[in-house]
Every structure is written in structure tokens, then in C-alpha cells.
């Protein structure tokens, strides 16, 4: 080979070497782009998914919190209404209590009532000997009607004797006085068996308590309909 041919061959080889390097560099660049895109996409998708879940969870909790709060408000409001109903009904009991106090002022009707209460208590106890307690202010009334009451009881119960001891040591508390706090009695009587084991409370106050309890559902229904609220 002569110089020129050698030189040409060398140049060809140099060109070849460079071409191969550039092709390889190109391949590397192309794969770099591909990997770049894949890597970026993967990271973004994975992170976005996590964030989405996180915020969906937060929003759900927000919703639940809202609903709980509203439900609590609703309950509080219902409670207020029920409380109000209760207060109103109690108010009526108190109004009745006030009236009770005046009953004993009408002597004629009060005496009649005392007689009936004594007879009722005697019929309940069915004892031949009882202790009767009343207010100090009612002692006179009681003695006025005692014999009639005994007679009526004996007739109704079919017995021929009954002994009533009116307690003149201990009395039922007096009528309600706003100036004097403490226990009070609006009238009526308490009867007990001699050994004190069986007691019949036929005071006006006790009767009102019983009646009120019994009539409460009816009163509530009349006022508030159904079960209220």
C-alpha cells in the first residue's frame, strides 16, 4: 500500500470510530428521554394518588363532623323543648297546690270533705282501732264530723264498732305560709293502725301528688299531643 491509501484507510477508520460513538451517544440520549418520562410519570402518579386519598379522607371527616354537630344541636334543641314541657306541666301542679290551700277556708264543704276522707281511710285500713292525725287548726272540724264518719264507716264495712283516737300531741304541719319556710299541709287527715305499721295518707297534698302522677300522661297528651315534640 502506498501512503495515500494508508492515509485514506486511517481516515475512514477515524470516521467510523466517531460515527459509532455518536450513534451510541444518540441511543443513550433517546433512552435518557424515555426513562426521564417514565420516571417522572411514575413519581407524579404515585404521589398524586396518595394526596388524593389524604384529602378525600379529610373531606369525609369534615362531613362526619358536620353531621355529628348538627345531630347534637338537634338533640339539644329537642331537650330544651322537653324541658319546657316539663316546666309548664309542673307549673300547673303548683297552681293547683295554691288552690288547695284555700279549700279549708270554706268550712261547710271542707267538713264534708274531711268526713269523706276519714271514711275512705277507715275503709282502706279496715282496723278496729286507729290513730288519726290532722292539723291543729282542723281539730275542731274533725271532732264535728267524727261521729258521722264512724257511723258511715261501720255501715259500709259491716262492723259494729270502731275506735278512733285523735292525736292531740302531734299534729300535721300547718297551712303554707310564705313567711315560714318548711313543711306544710293544706288539709286532710292521716290515719294509722295502732301499731303504726299501716298508714293511710289522706291529706290534700298527698292526694294531689297521686292524682297528678296518674293524670300526667293525659295532661301531657292534651297539651303537647302524642309524645311531645
Amino acid at each position: 500500500m502506498n501512503d495515500a491509501e494508508v492515509s485514506k484507510q486511517v481516515q475512514q477508520m477515524v470516521r467510523f470510530i466517531k460515527q459509532e460513538a455518536e450513534e451510541k451517544a444518540n441511543e443513550i440520549a433517546v433512552s435518557a428521554e424515555e426513562e426521564f418520562n417514565i420516571e417522572k410519570l411514575q413519581i407524579v402518579e404515585a404521589e398524586k394518588r396518595k394526596i388524593k386519598q389524604e384529602y378525600e379522607r379529610k373531606e369525609k371527616q369534615l362531613d362526619i363532623r358536620k353531621r355529628i354537630d348538627y345531630s347534637m344541636q338537634l338533640n339539644a334543641s329537642r331537650l330544651k323543648v322537653l324541658q319546657s314541657q316539663d316546666e309548664l306541666v309542673q307549673g300547673m301542679k303548683e297552681a293547683a297546690e295554691k288552690h288547695l290551700a284555700t279549700l279549708s277556708h270554706h268550712h261547710h264543704s271542707y267538713r264534708k270533705l274531711l268526713r269523706e276522707l276519714i271514711v275512705q281511710a277507715l275503709l282502706r285500713l279496715k282496723e278496729s282501732s286507729v290513730l288519726l292525725r290532722c292539723r291543729e287548726s282542723d281539730v275542731e272540724h274533725v271532732f264535728e264530723v267524727l261521729e258521722d264518719a264512724k257511723r258511715e264507716y261501720m255501715g259500709k264495712a259491716g262492723v259494729d264498732h270502731v275506735h278512733i283516737h285523735v292525736d292531740n300531741q302531734k299534729f300535721l304541719p300547718p297551712a303554707h305560709d310564705p313567711r315560714r319556710p318548711g313543711s306544710f299541709c293544706s288539709g286532710g287527715v292521716v290515719l294509722a293502725s295502732n301499731d303504726g305499721r299501716i298508714v293511710c295518707e289522706n291529706t290534700l297534698d298527698a292526694r294531689l301528688g297521686v292524682v297528678f302522677k296518674q293524670k300526667l300522661p293525659e295532661i301531657r297528651r292534651r297539651l303537647f299531643g302524642g309524645s311531645g315534640a
Partner: protein, 108 residues
């Protein structure tokens, strides 16, 4: 002889240049991959900020909502209670009379 040597030099130089070209391509690739991470993180941060903004908006809307709802409930409740009071005062004398009647009627 010199020309022969020259030829070999040229080939060696070309070889070296080839290595450099390839090394440069490799370096560019790894830089590109690092970029992938950086750009991804940027996009992710944007997305997070967007979701956060949406969430904050929902938060403020709902608290405004519930505030007015509570008020409305309060008003309704008060109305109900007022109605009850009215009803009660209408019916009260009747009820009191009924109670007293039961207290004072004795069935023997």
C-alpha cells in the same frame, strides 16, 4: 515509518474522542434523570397546593353554613317553646280544675 506512527496516533485520538462523546452522553442521561425527580416533585407540590386550597374553601363554606343553620334551629326552638307556653296558659285553668276535682271527690 513516521506516517505509520501518525496513523496510529490518529486512531488513538479518535478512540479517546469516542470515549468522551459516550461519557458525555452518559452524564447527560444521569442529569436528565435527576431532572425527572425535580420536575415530578414540582408537579406534585402544585397538585397538593391545589387540593389544599379546595379543602380550605370547603372548610370555610361549611362553617358558614352550619353557623346559619344553628341560628335557624335556635329560632325554631324558641318558637316551639313560645307556642307551648301559649297552649299551656290556655289549658291551665281547665287542668287545675280537673286536678282539684279529683282531689276533692271521694268515692266511698
Amino acid at each position: 515509518m513516521e506516517k505509520g506512527q501518525g496513523g496510529i496516533q490518529m486512531l488513538l485520538a479518535a478512540e479517546q474522542e469516542a470515549q468522551q462523546i459516550i461519557a458525555a452522553a452518559r452524564a447527560a442521561k444521569s442529569a436528565r434523570l435527576k431532572q425527572a425527580k425535580e420536575e415530578a416533585e414540582k408537579e406534585v407540590a402544585e397538585y397538593r397546593a391545589q387540593r389544599e386550597a379546595e379543602f380550605k374553601k370547603k372548610l370555610s363554606e361549611s362553617s358558614g353554613d352550619s353557623g346559619s343553620r344553628v341560628q335557624r334551629l335556635e329560632v325554631e326552638t324558641q318558637e316551639k317553646i313560645e307556642n307551648l307556653k301559649e297552649e299551656a296558659s290556655k289549658v291551665s285553668p281547665e287542668v287545675v280544675e280537673l286536678l282539684l276535682k279529683y282531689v276533692t271527690s271521694v268515692k266511698n
